[in-house]
Symmetry: C3
Subunit: 332 residues, 3 copies
């Protein structure tokens, strides 16, 4: 494995190998596996789980990290090509990223969607431009429409549920004060499809996932024997569900239009997962969310604090899943 | 030892054990004692000594740290229960802290007093809510009314003075441009009392330490054979003193009222420790302060730069004292 | 070697020793050379290369770092002597720096020029005041008029060019939206002179390097058999050049006067290195720059993306050069 950018670049067998390794590292730590190795972490956007778990994972494998947060102790980075740099950004990614790559054995990059131009975001214009500058093993710490570290951790979490392999997985849009990126919904629907689950995307009108994301997931489902459908009918979607994966994202019918987005989400305050969402679900239906989650806006306290919630386990699984990725990328 | 939250939770013997271990680690480093161990550090407020000394201490014991500063590269954290999260904070401590704890072997948390509601601060409402979410060894990096790391380092510093064990210890209020928390004065008066010293709290009217803090210190003094008194009479307090521990804190008679606080401290500019404060003190009387100190506001250059000052030694002692705490919390 | 402050404090032999060690560490890593050692890094100003490469270098040698950025998670530091501290800065360097030094085996400090008082900046008033407070091995991470880490890396980069030892080295002023410090031009002209090169400082009228900087470089040239001249005649300077080292700096004839500086640089937009700058240069003439570089303001895309550019190699060489410095300062 040369890079960890998108779960879709991996075969089912490669994913199984990573998950087996993750489990092994939980039981039998390898304190010196990455001794002398250095991981560089570049955060163009905020982080909590990714920032902490990668540093912890490298340390537990005997390696080390450095963290770069442009604009915070470090120059702001220009990403546009051909521009005359006479504004705030003092450094261009064309210098910044190759330089950082030359200081480490692997580089992780987080860069969210601009959220203005859907085609550019779907094409991963920004992450792609940055990735092209790095000649080291590369890890996607969340890009415009992907979050493979989260997807791998979620896969592991689902594996830990008894018999859930091919069950009904509902990715449901939930309420949030403002538009959020498509990275996690896109990665999640693809991950569940790749696992062969019966995937239903539940979302209000105007919030359908873009065709490119749905098509990619349907291809994965075709290969795995799963399925991917979508609906705005909450009752139908939740009926018989084994997993409700709650996630916030922006209005896609008016992508990048903040005023329209605000108007569209105003009447959707009841898209907050409460106990009654589980009334017609399977008895052992669980709640997933990638975090951070806004309590009582996206998911109610009663669900997050109840026995259905897997959110802390999902977050914990980031650590062993990523340690497996680091091990495969960096261990000679 | 499962946690290091408050010196009052430790027996005199446990404190002696930590101090002996601190001294041993200074002489005989243990480069691999905490190999593979990870300490998470969460700073809700600024830091210099704590931030640097914990990272250095873990490294010197073979372990590693990650640092999380909510609002700086990391989402702001909501601390209130039951709230609908539609404001600036994207994540609740109910998720954030258990997640961070799951990535490390021990967690340190710094969260200062709100400084609005004295009863809430005395009850450690905020730190307590955070501590309750952590199922790992926990270190108090300074809370509303405690700073056990400073207290342990100060205990070590006092031990290094010849024969000072039961001498006169004056905790003196000093001038500062605005109200500061009660954490260090509370921890200091308790520490000195626990050591069996003759403790005098010297403070202007309106700045008396709350009864809960004084009562706790008096209990410790009763057990150790020391004493705790308070006065606004500077000459009486300083007479015969062996240690003047200078510290700034807010007006307690108008706690949380910034305007009243400002009014109360306006005429107190002469509460700045100068050489003449030592005129009637013991010949070898020393100056202590936990730092940071505002020069010529709280303590004059002539004292900080003179032979009486122990402030750098106090700060240095944070390192071995905390290494002992880490060793006891994390070494199998 | 007790400190690494200024290349001028080192003999030619000491520089050669560092460069040989840098090369050896690239070929034969020493994973445990600095085990248990801790480097403290204090950044009063932003950084990318220095921040990342020192952390990576220490990790690759088995040691660790802590990073302190005053004003970002840490109190702002007061640098003036004798002041009554009732403003924003909560801590004085007279406490802050000795304390940090006591937590580590070596300390690195970055503090840029104030850019107001040329004599004070040339005298390294600020860095000097900070350095005087540190009783550990000290590394200059860039001060008002020095950047020895960059100079050592550049020396290594020049050594990698076939036969360039005594060739023509042109340090050229280039355009930038605002005044930048003299640290890199001063360090660069001295480094090239110390190497015995034919050094030409090319700059518009009003941007001559201060006499103190030129005199110091000329002394180095006298000892090494090189030369140092200056001119505003671009054609003459570039003719036959083997290296064009582009660098931005502020107007020195109106030092510290932002309005005059802006007026002076307004007509100088064509001081941007383009391919045609190399027309009369040596066939194998190379472009150097310390980074960060503003593309199409200081150097054009066509040069930075072309085969003449050494900027990424220069930045990479920071890593082995600094590892050699750390090794000599810290290895018993």
């Amino acid at each position: 494995m040369k890079r960890f950018i998108d779960l879709a670049e991996l075969t089912h067998e490669q994913v199984q190998d990573l998950l087996a390794l993750a489990q092994r590292l939980e039981v039998r730590p390898e304190r010196q596996a990455l001794a002398g190795k250095v991981l560089g972490l570049v955060f163009m956007n905020p982080s909590l789980r990714t920032l902490a778990s990668f540093q912890s994972g490298m340390a537990q494998l005997g390696g080390a990290c450095f963290v770069i947060t442009p604009g915070q102790g470090t120059w702001q980075l220009e990403t546009r090509d051909g521009v005359v740099m006479n504004g705030a950004a003092a450094e261009h990614i064309r210098e910044g990223l190759p330089v950082l790559a030359s200081y480490c054995d692997a580089l992780g990059i987080r860069v969210f969607a601009d959220g203005k131009d859907l085609a550019a975001d779907l094409a991963e214009k920004k992450f792609g431009a940055m990735a092209a500058l790095v000649d080291r093993p590369l890890i996607n710490l969340e890009s415009a429409v992907n979050h493979p570290c989260q997807a791998l951790a979620d896969w592991k979490t689902l594996d830990e549920l008894p018999g859930a392999a091919r069950r009904k997985f509902v990715l449901s849009w939930v309420s949030h004060p403002k538009a959020l990126p498509l990275a996690v919904p896109a990665a999640t629907v693809h991950m569940a499809a790749m696992r062969g689950m019966e995937v239903v995307v539940l979302r209000p009108d105007g919030f359908a996932l873009p065709a490119a994301i749905m098509d990619k997931a349907r291809s994965a489902a075709a290969a795995s024997g799963g399925s991917v459908t979508e609906t705005a009918d909450r009752a139908a979607a939740l009926s018989g569900a084994h997993v409700i994966y709650a996630k916030e994202w922006g209005c896609t019918s008016h992508y990048g239009d903040d005023d329209a987005d605000k108007e569209m989400r105003r009447p959707l305050k009841d898209w907050c997962v409460r106990n009654d969402w589980f009334a017609q679900a399977a008895a052992d239906c669980r709640l997933m969310h990638c975090l951070p989650v806004r309590r009582n806006s996206a998911v109610a306290d009663e669900v997050l604090d109840g026995p259905r919630s897997l959110v802390l386990r999902q977050a914990y699984n980031r650590l062993p899943a990523q340690m497996a990725v680091l091990h495969r990328l960096l261990k000679a």
